[in-house]
Amino acid sequence: MTEFLHMGGYATFVWTAYGLTAAALIVLALSSIRGAQKTRERVEALRPRRRKGE
């Protein structure tokens, strides 16, 4: 297992590359999904009041 992690001496480069990519993609995905949900809640919050107010 450690031999695998060692990556033939290039461990830092290979794992940084994969790690950074994974981190960036996850952060982007989460922020997009959370953003979609939060804005939907705010729209729902505004919309019924508007209907009642009409």
Binding site: M7, A17, Y18, L20, I33, R40, R50
Partner: protein, 239 residues
């Protein structure tokens, strides 16, 4: 084309696609990583560091693909004044910029073990760098103008001017590269690559595409809701 003009229609379409895209994404990521990290052989010259290519190359492909999506959305938005297409450009750009940044970072991480320096003015890497600035310009223009609708159409014009110039930039950078650095350093040519190296590349590329669709649809929901919020608040303002 006009069917998706209204957001409710688009949301229904998105909800239909999302589950499938997620499944493909998960499967492709799992299988791709397995191929990239375990079964594919180390390169006789570069050793294990070649595995960085399996992330770097698909990211570079995605940065180009996403800009084409932005350009197509911009064309639709300008020619048919299609409100949802206008938001599609705004939703896709950050994803493209992220992939471009990743392509640059992984390119540098791959360059260090191979040539001893993080940044190499290789033709392909330099083109990706210029593409990164095109993304920054597009996104900055969206925020530059105060009226959202005008900002969108201005950014769309920029995207179309940009997409026409990309092949010219690519050609001039390659030309400049051969001028100053005759040996082509980064050997990433697809077809001559042995099969067991090609498969992880294509699988990760598929995973990135599925990932793009998933995140793009969520960002579209986000942008549509944001536009609804500005519209609703403008009604509140009129009272």
């Amino acid at each position: 084309m006009h069917r998706f003009a209204n957001p409710a229609e688009f949301n229904r379409l998105a909800d239909a696609i999302l589950p499938w895209a997620k499944i493909i994404m998960a499967a492709a990521f799992a299988y791709g990583l397995y191929l990239a990290l375990f079964t594919s052989p180390p390169d006789y010259q570069q050793g294990e560091s070649v595995r960085i290519m399996y992330v770097h190359v698909p990211a570079a492909w995605m940065s180009m693909f996403t800009y084409m999506v932005v350009a197509a959305a911009s064309f639709t938005a300008l020619v048919w004044r299609h409100p949802v297409a206008l938001l599609a450009g705004k939703a896709a750009a950050p994803i493209g910029a992220t992939f471009t940044a990743l392509a640059l970072i992984t390119g540098m991480l791959w360059g260090k073990p191979m040539w001893g320096t993080y940044w190499v003015w290789d033709g392909r890497l330099t083109s990706v760098l210029v593409l990164f600035f095109l993304y920054l310009g597009y996104m900055a223009l969206w925020r530059g103008l105060d009226e959202e609708d005008k900002a969108g159409r201005a950014a769309s014009i920029l995207a179309l001017v940009g997409v026409v110039n990309i092949p010219i930039i690519k050609f001039s950078v390659d030309w400049w590269n051969t001028l100053h650095q005759p040996s082509s350093v980064m050997r990433m040519d697809g077809p001559t690559m042995p099969a067991e190296m090609l498969w992880p590349l294509l699988t990760v590329a598929l995973a990135f595409k599925a990932y793009f669709i998933v995140v793009f649809l969520y960002r579209m929901k986000l942008e549509i809701n944001l536009r609804k919020l500005t519209v609703l608040s403008s009604i509140e303002a009129r009272g």
